[in-house]
């Protein structure tokens, strides 16, 4: 009941004009960056972050949450209309979404996706409202050892899983953590790695680094995209309603996707993307119409689309309740909390209940706004895809540079923006994962704080960090993931060699040839 009363109180606050406008702008901007190929929620949140510093913390958090949710709605539009996913979580939507569009059912596909996103968002928010207090109560007794394990261990897991190869996630992660050590050390006021330059005393601004990493490099990617001039199909209002059969077939995949997505959202993995692939795989296994998947089946878009929205909501639990962001966009949300003087963690619910519940309630409102923005206005979003890049790039870049400059009103922010942008572009070209860079930068100071507190409490004994069951469990999982990551390729290689020795490779060749035939 506490949760319900808290939520109703938050709803009252969220209906105030300032927060309503923040939710609307977040949803609008999120859908826009989601629709535009090349731009994603991270770039959108990074662009808006410096501009939110002048407003209340709730405005900043609601806008970023709105962008995150809106981008999940909009990301799949290009998958359906252009066969180009707006971001990685929209890749699955190309499998059946574009096939439906080819059959003249683009409008129905977009409606099923928008309604599915709304249903998943609603289910996810209900789960969030009732699970948040439970998680917070559980986490309230955590000490520095548990927090150190969750932040450092979670970051290592995320870097390992998102990176692909071991080095692809770890190098950007350590670069982010090392960048976070630049500037004045808070406990002793000691200047670290500033080279006598007072402009670096406050360290690197997360907003500037995020805009550089994602803004500059994503726009460069947009420019070099060979499909940059592709024109989307037209969607008329009368094409939007799905038929009875399509509605009926969507219901169970929506529900399955919603629960799968929420579960993924709680884990330190790229939840939105993984949940869509898992949901698709499950539809391939359990759906009555599984043989139609890949040819324009409704189940192929309903399940994954619900999953990625629910994952976005689920991933709010660790960030709002534990202060642990498992995606770069949510790292920016955490950064907004820190900049506004709010200590992230389980005490947020207790110390700032108005903020916590108003953000949750505003997400409910944003979810309704997104449904209204996406269904009747889907034709308009298709038109957004027709905006030429020579309009988009100067406008986005001017906003980015003004935003970065406004952080400290210092020219050095623009230089950092540019240099980090070039580094981000090159790292992406070499297939390094940028998400762990930004999350490392945000979590770095927190990891250091918990490390120092742990050493202080444990009187310098490192055994303190693995003294409790929670920290032992987390470090064991980290150990297993890393060891498995090292052993699995060796196991595959040995297995393949044995298979080759038995002549099984010949069979594989035949299988490949028969597939081509």
């Amino acid at each position: 009941m506490d949760a319900l009363f808290g939520f109703l109180g938050g709803l009252e606050l969220a209906l105030q004009p300032e927060l309503l406008i923040a939710a609307f702008l977040g949803a609008l901007l999120g859908t826009t960056v989601g629709v535009l190929p090349g731009l994603g929620p991270i770039a959108g949140a990074a662009l808006i972050l410096p501009l939110t510093f002048n407003y209340s913390p709730a405005v900043a958090l609601i806008m970023i949450a709105g962008i995150y949710l809106g981008a999940q709605y909009g990301g799949s539009t290009t998958s359906v209309l252009l066969n180009i996913p707006g971001d990685t979580s929209a890749i699955v939507a190309t499998f059946d979404g574009h096939q439906m569009a080819k059959k003249g059912r683009a409008g129905a596909a977009l409606t099923i996706m928008a309604v599915g996103s709304f249903i998943a968002g609603t289910i996810g928010l209900i789960l969030l409202i009732f699970s948040a207090q439970f998680v917070a109560r559980f986490a309230i007794n955590f000490g520095p050892a548990e927090y150190f394990a969750m932040t450092a261990g979670g970051l290592l897991l995320l870097a390992r899983i998102t990176g692909g190869s071991l080095a692809s996630g770890l190098l950007p992660m350590i670069l982010g953590i090392a960048m976070a050590t630049v500037g004045m050390e808070m406990a002793t006021s000691y200047f670290r790695f500033t080279f006598g330059n007072l402009n670096l005393a406050l360290g690197f601004s997360i907003a500037t680094v995020a805009v550089g990493l994602y803004g500059i490099s994503e726009l460069a990617y947009m420019l070099e995209n060979k499909n940059r001039d592709a024109k989307p199909m037209k969607v008329r209002l009368r094409d939007l309603p799905p038929n009875k059969e399509e509605w009926r077939r969507s219901i169970t995949p929506w529900l399955r996707g919603s629960f799968i997505g929420f579960g993924f959202g709680l884990l330190p993995v790229p939840s939105a993307t993984l949940s869509t692939f898992t949901s698709y795989k499950i539809e391939q296994s359990v759906s009555k119409y599984r043989k139609e998947l890949g040819t324009g089946a409704v189940e192929g878009i309903a399940g994954p689309e619900a999953a990625n929205n629910s994952a976005a909501i689920g991933s709010m639990v660790p960030v709002l309740v534990l202060g642990l962001p498992f995606s770069a966009t949510l790292a920016l949300m955490l950064s907004a909390m820190i900049v506004q003087g709010i200590q992230p963690g389980p005490l947020v619910m207790e110390r700032h209940p108005d903020l916590f519940w108003s953000v949750i309630a505003a997400m409910v409102i944003a979810n309704v706004m997104l449904l209204v923005l996406n269904i009747p206005m889907v034709g308009l979003w298709a038109q957004v895809l027709r905006v030429p890049r020579h309009w988009l790039i100067p406008i986005i870049m001017l906003v980015a540079m003004i935003g970065a400059f406004s952080v400290t009103r210092n020219q050095i922010e623009l230089w950092i923006l540019f240099v980090v942008g070039i580094i981000g572009y090159l790292l992406r070209k070499l297939q390094f994962s940028l998400a762990s860079f930004l999350i490392g930068l945000v979590l770095g100071p927190l990891i250091e704080k918990y490390f120092m507190q742990g050493l202080f409490i444990g009187r310098g004994d490192l055994g303190y960090f693995v003294a409790g069951p929670i920290s032992i469990t987390i470090w064991s999982i980290v150990g297993v993931v890393f060891v498995a990551g090292l052993l699995l390729p060796i196991y595959r290689w040995v297995k393949a060699r044995r298979a080759a020795a038995r002549g099984e490779v010949v069979e594989v060749k035949h299988a490949a040839l028969s597939e081509i035939d």
Binding site: A178, I216, S406, L430, R492, A496
Partner: protein
């Protein structure tokens, strides 16, 4: 006359099928063998004798270079960290965490180099843009650099108009008058939105104040 083109079309089609088959087999074989498996060599690929660095594809070579640069920077970082007050285990100083980070950074840099040299976890060629796409990316980055350099001297309004002018001129096929009009609208419009409406203080430069603006 008509038989020859059909024949050559068929030949092209056959060649494509063979190429597709070869590629598909290579892919299935590579998948079966896993990322650490022995490399597949076609006739076009160079002989793998001699130093390993000579036979790396561009992504692996790029990652070796990144690893070496990262290693050099991390060693410098660790040396600086060691010069900071370390404190004791129970009373850690400001240098203790950077020492831990520096040590981890060195290890990770070595992993980057080792992974690129001795495994095939990440392979392929770096797809840098070519032709007009490369020109556009270079132009966009150069214009951005130009804006950053010019901002303190020209001020936000003039620098923004010039920046948008360059991007409109080279990224679009609009006539000059439209380019000028658009860059004035975007440059002044976006800057005014932030400076006047949102009260963001941006550099005024030296030209507009001289003109009394």
């Amino acid at each position: 006359m008509s038989a020859t083109p059909r024949k050559s079309k068929e030949a092209v089609h056959d060649t494509e099928v063979v190429t597709e088959s070869t590629q598909a087999i290579s892919k299935v074989m590579a998948d079966a063998l896993g990322p650490n498996g022995p490399s597949q060599h076609s006739e076009d690929e160079p002989d793998n004798r001699g130093p390993i660095l000579w036979h790396l594809d561009s992504i692996r070579l790029g990652r070796v270079i990144v690893g070496i640069v990262s290693l050099a920077v991390s060693i410098g970082y660790l040396m600086m960290a060691l010069d900071m007050p370390q404190g004791t285990g129970a009373q850690p100083g400001p240098g203790m965490w950077p020492v831990a980070v520096g040590g981890a950074w060195i290890v990770i840099s070595l992993i980057v180099i080792g992974e690129a040299l001795f495994t095939q976890q990440v392979v392929g060629s770096v797809d840098f843009p070519k032709g007009i796409y490369r020109r556009d990316v270079i132009l966009y980055l150069s214009a951005t650099l130009g804006f950053i350099i010019a901002l303190p001297w020209l001020g936000q309004y003039i620098a923004a108009v010039l920046y948008t002018f360059v991007l409109f001129k080279f990224l679009s096929k609009l006539p000059l008058w439209r380019v000028i009009l658009n860059s004035l609208i975007v440059g002044i419009g976006v800057s005014a939105l932030f400076i006047i409406v949102l009260q963001v203080r941006m550099p005024k430069g030296v030209i507009l104040p001289m003109l009394g603006l």
